[in-house]
Structures are given as C-alpha cells and as structure tokens.
Assembly symmetry: C2
C-alpha cells in the first residue's frame, strides 16, 4: 500500500490534501510562528480537519507533549479513546487502540459509582493497568476522571489529548488538564471534538513515521 498523506491514499485524494495544506498554512502562518515545527504540523492538521482557523488560536500544547507522545507512540503504547468515533478515526497505528464505552463492566461501574459511562470507561482502563496515551474528543467527565486517576497515582498516562466539546464543563475540564503536570494538548473554550482529537493523534503518528523514514534514509 502507498503511504498516506493526511488520510489520503489515492492520487486525487493526495492532490486535495496537498492543496488544502497549502491553504491552511497561508491562513495560520502568522499565528503559529512561535511553535516548534512538530507543534505547527499538529495545529495545521487540526485546522485542515475542521476547516476552522480559530483552532490555531485556541490549541494549547504543553512543552513536553510532543516528546512524551512520540516516545509513547514509538514504543507502541496503548491509545485509549473516550468514544468509538475517535477510535476508528486513528490511522496506521501498530499498537492497540481501545475504547471501553460500550463494555459491560463500564456500564456496571457507571451505575455503581453514579458517574457517566465515559468516566467509568477511564476507571476500567486504570483497573486494567493502562499505560499510554489518552485521547478525549467528547467527554469532559472522562477528562476530569483521567486527571483524578493520574493525580491519585491510579493510572499511568504518558500524555493526554484533551479536547472535549460543549458548552457545559468542557472548557473547565480542559483548564484542569492545562493546570496539571500531565503532558497535554487542549483547545481553550467550548470548541473541540472528534475531528480535533483524531487530527492530533494522526499527526503524531505521521510525525513519527517521517522521523523513522529519515533515520532509515
């Protein structure tokens, strides 16, 4: 199979993706000058996926995020997502990508602890000995649960992409992540969601592949 470029695998798809990337770059060039090349590449992909240049203003990446995430991904650590939409959007990852939202044990935990299923799914992952990268594209309660589990030493998390969407609790949950010591990528305010989460992960996977290709000549 041919290598993919931003999700494209055919000539026509590749052309569209390439032209789009050029447009994105011109739209957000001045806003991303203070970023590293890797961070810039991630933000470009998010804007490409949403067609919304505002993401160049509201995406905030902690200085250790790229390094910790690329290390975890290169070691094929597990990726944990809050919802299945995010899980199926992740491309070309050799490691395991899990989502426990529909697991019977998650439903049981949610009932027992009177929490959302998305939060219970994080508890289940922690109970299962999770160690890897967490990707939250939808649920503020899942993100808050991850922070709580990490801070009580109950979960081993290398980095968190925390971009839940919504007018209730999303902004607050992302602020909590930003104030934590967890390597993170967030979007300030209510905006975020599946395409943002997926773009960030896929961008990391592409960055790693590019680095590996450079090493292999």
């Amino acid at each position: 199979m041919k290598p993919m470029f931003m999700g494209a695998s055919t000539k026509q798809g590749y052309k569209i993706a390439k032209k789009s990337r050029e447009i994105v770059r011109s739209l957000i060039d001045s806003k991303t000058r203070n970023l590293t090349p890797e961070e810039r590449s991630i933000v470009e992909r998010i804007v490409h996926s949403t067609a919304d240049p505002e993401y160049a203003d509201i995406t905030q990446i902690s200085s250790d995020f790229v390094e910790k995430s690329l290390k975890a991904i290169s070691e094929e650590k597990d990726i944990l997502t809050d919802i299945n939409m995010v899980r199926v959007g992740i491309n070309k990852y050799e490691g395991i990508i899990n989502c426990h939202i529909a697991d019977e044990r998650t439903i049981e935990l949610a009932r027992k602890h009177e929490i959302t299923r998305a939060a219970a799914a994080m508890e289940l992952a922690a109970l299962n000995g999770f160690d890897g990268v967490v990707v939250i594209g939808n649920s503020p309660t899942a993100l808050l649960k991850v922070i709580e589990l990490v801070e009580s030493d109950s979960m081993d998390v290398k980095s968190v992409i925390g971009v839940p969407v919504g007018f209730v609790a999303a902004a607050e949950s992302k602020k909590s992540l930003q104030e934590s010591s967890i390597p993170h990528l967030i979007t300030e305010g209510p905006k975020g969601g599946t395409p943002v989460a997926v773009a960030a992960v896929n961008s990391l996977i592409s960055l790693l592949r590019t680095k590996q290709d450079e090493v292999n000549g």
Copy 2:
C-alpha cells in the same frame, strides 16, 4: 435500557446534555426562528455537537429534507456513510448502516476509474442497489459522485446529508448538492465534518422516535 437524550444515557450525562441544549437554544434562538420545529431541532443538535454557533448561519436544509428523511428512516431504509467515523457515531438505528471505504471492491474501483476511495465507495453502493439516506461527513468527491449517480438514474437516494469539510472542493460540492433536486442538508463554505453529519442523522432518528412515542401515547 433507558432512553437516550442527545447521546446521554446516565443521570449525569443527561444533566449535561440538558443544560447544554438550553445554552445552545439561547445562543441561536433568533437565527432559527424561520425554521420548522424539526429543522430547528436538527440545527440545535449540530450546534450542541460542535459548540460552534456559526452552524446556525451556514446550515441549509431543503424544504423536503425532513419529510423525505423521516419517511426513509421510518421504513428502515439503509444509511450509507462516506467514512467509518460517521458510521459508528450513528445511534439507535434499526436499519443497516453501511460504509464501503475499506471494501476490497472499493479499492479496485478507485484504481480502475482513477477516483478517490470515498467516491468509489459510492459507486459500489449504487452497484449493490442502494436505496436510502446518504451521509457525507468528509469527502467532497464522494458527494459529487452521489449527485452524478442520482442524476444519471444510477442510484436511488431518498435524501443526502452533505457536509464535507475542507478548503478544497468541499464548498463547491455542497453548492452542487444545493442546486440539485435531491432533498438535502448542507453547510455552506468549508466547514462541516463528522460531528455535523452525525448530529444531523441522530437528530432525525430522535425526531422519529419522539413522533412514534406520541402516537403510542
């Protein structure tokens, strides 16, 4: 299982969804006054899912869209999506939800006709005798292919949710759908994507369930 409200199935999830819906309503109230209650409900769900009130300005719904879509969904006609992310986001549908993007025959058709896989997946559905609702959340080339297949009487489509995203070809493909005689929902300009597509379908499914509950008392 308890009924879901905007994707929420637990008490905490329900509370968040309800409060969010109130905020959405207050944000877009004046913009949606010219819509029918059903259309308004769809637009509210799109804004809820994206946390982006601009969707109240750019979502355009043809006057026959709700009726034709609800009829198709009540008859459990097939739903066809362009990508798997859209497919897995659709909740509580009794009919079949298909996505052919990863089908071997799609890859073969794409190669043979030198088109994108997303467009080839629409050709495959037409060859398989598709009859139902098409949901395009990502690919302009898939949307253009559907319009072409319908206009050449090669595909039976009851309605199209056409919300591909991107700076290249997306706006043009949605304009073509808008100018066609196909019952449709589109978003003007480059914005759109998986959450918009999923919100529109799930809103239709909820509307139908509400109508059925009313009939059943």
